[in-house]
Amino acid sequence: MSATPTTETKPAPPAIEKIRIKIDGREIEVPKLSPDWQGKPVPTTMLQACKMVRNDIPHYCWHPKLPVAGNCRMCLVEFGTPALGPDRKPLLNADGTPVIRKSPRPAIACATPISPGMEIYTQTPGVKQMREGVLEFLLINHPLDCPICDKAGECKLQEYSLDYGASASRLVEPKVHKPKAEDLGPRIVLDAERCIMCSRCIRFTRDVVGDDALSFVNRGSYSTLTAYPGKPFDNNYTLNTVDICPVGALTSKDFRFQMRTWFLKETKSICTSCATGCNILIGSREGKIHRYTPRENDGVNGPWMCDAGRLHYKWIHREDRLLDVLVRGEKSTWTTALSEMADKLKLAAPGSVAIIASARQTNEELWLLSKLKAKLGAISDSIPRIGKGDHLLLDADKNPNTNGSRLTGISFTEMGINLVKIAEGIASGTIKTLIVFGEDLLMHSVGSDQLGAKELTSEVVQEHGLTAELLGKLETLIVSDILPNATAQYAHYVLPGCAHAEKRGTFTNRDGRVQKFLQAIQPPGDARAEWDFLHDLVYNLTGRSGFQTIEGLFNEMAKDVPAFNGLTWAGLGDAGVTVKI
């Protein structure tokens, strides 16, 4: 079942026709066609050509994943094309070079396609003057309230003003004032004064999400962004408009006045709210997570992520997190608990142990549990978690690592099929030991206490017969979880685990893409990463020398699990690697 890993699922594109152009006197070869916002090949624009040679032209309204609007005028450049004689042949200078006719007017680089022999000038005094002029217009009615603006620090208007703007304002008239801190939807605040009318949010919600909710009203200086009357801007992707807003006009209610952006440490991670596995950046400071933002990965989520996943982080900082190792309700230490558990499991008869591991655990943890399963001759499964999916990113499968659970042999094609057998086994007394990781068998209610996320992530967990009465019959119940739950109350051993932001690991998403995530914050109390203590437990039980680091553990797993053969931790990179599922 070995598969060759590939970085992209798409086949290699056919050979591309290239044309030669000159940018600021430097001759380069660029493809004639480039992907547009939907990935369809269209003639390459000047802006794309300049991007290819790392000559970044300032722009506000252009976004690689949105249709071109060309309304901010920030990307104006000067250009020239080869002059043609009456015979439609290029005129040549005395030294054999083509004669270049400079265009009398500038052009917007984002919407003007390149042509063979074209020369683009991005650093001329004229271009500099145009940029300064455009910025002066944009700043006419801008309130300059950067000290209270959440965007400050990652604001394009700030950046370009510094790079290309004039040093002082010439405006003497009073500025036009517009509504501030207006409610645009359940998760978005609009500050109309700060808006520069780039229309990115309008295009995003109309063309990408398909929810035509926003528009401009009024004219001239009074132009204002607004949601259609009676139609709230409340789809599941509204917070992406905050990311793409080049200024602080649209800000997140959740992140409002939380922390200035320059303090946030950004850690590459994966969203755990559904099987899509959107790539994210965790913004944290001093051990506190302040926000999730999408991290661009065209193979998975592009530059977007859904609101439900983005706001699903507050449970990590809940006050009632499990912080102590408990042995039969008494506070204990890891060493005691792990050695006691190993002693008990060593004596367990084959077939008397069952493992219920969550598909929200990482590949490494599930693999270590599968080692336990093999050693103990145990029966195992995970619990399916099915909710509502949508047309864009949200998947109906709410477990982030369903495929990982299958590939490591914890669950089977039909997840949850063994739960009945486990319940029967406990009832009949053949199963005496139950190991539960990351699941509350009695309730399944994790992190649904925050803003708007409950209805968005509404989960349906398969019903099963594992009742409190059955759990009470067990000789040994080992529970590892992050938040307190009803199952843990019956447990003989409670092992506090880590949220994904507090450990490293990999998930296998719905397409079989193995993606790694890194540690953003330190775990609280005595909580320890599951792979870390599972490694100790497996070592105690089997004597199998494992790896103290996640890199070594992953590489060992990749050798052992057929589907992961050939993978290495380092080889996963930031974008992940797709395996055959």
Binding site: C146, I148, P174, V176, H177, K178, F263
Partner: protein, 180 residues
């Protein structure tokens, strides 16, 4: 290196002339103006521009000037400043128009090096290095000044009330076509 000592001359060996010379200097100082200050009963008057302890100031109407932009926290070389922003559910600012005010503002005076970067970077003219140079406390915790204490010590600073002006300007534009 060995320094050779010259034998003393007769004048030097006489001893008394040197003693009398010394007493003359002492006597002269008896009749001069005193330079010793009776600190702490007597306090030194610091010169203008002196960089003492940084305190928060209020505007002429008694409103908190700080908007919790956290630039001083960022620029502070010894990391003496710690600001807690209000967050989405926080208390609204006590001044009109600017929506933001720090929930907590702490300066650890044991860490502060009185460099004045916070005053220099402040876009709101809300923090100033003032004339206090002798800060005492009986424990370390006492030396972490909170927002209330800093505002009480800081007094008022009559500057440009830019947020108030913005609001007045906005109210004057009654004809703005979008009403909320």
């Amino acid at each position: 290196m060995i320094i050779e000592r010259k034998p003393l001359s007769l004048w030097e060996r006489l001893y008394l002339p040197a003693i009398i010379g010394g007493f003359k200097v002492t006597l002269r100082h008896f009749f001069k103006k005193k330079v010793t200050m009776q600190y702490p009963e007597e306090k030194w008057v610091v010169p203008a521009g002196y960089r003492g302890a940084p305190y928060l100031v209020r505007d002429q109407e008694g409103h908190t000037k700080c908007v919790s932009c956290q630039l001083c926290e960022f620029v502070c070389p010894p990391k003496a400043i710690k600001i807690t922003p209000p967050g989405p559910a926080g208390e609204l600012a006590d001044r009109p128009n600017a929506e933001k005010m720090p929930k907590e503002f702490e300066i650890n005076m044991l860490r502060c090096i009185f460099c004045g970067f916070c005053q220099e970077v402040c876009p709101e003219e809300a923090i100033f290095l003032q004339k206090d140079y002798s800060l005492t406390g009986t424990n370390r915790k006492e030396m972490i000044y909170n927002k209330e204490k800093l505002l009480d010590l800081g007094g008022t600073h009559a500057g440009v009330q830019k947020w108030k002006h913005k609001l007045e300007e906005a109210r004057a534009q009654e004809d703005f076509p979008v009403k909320v």
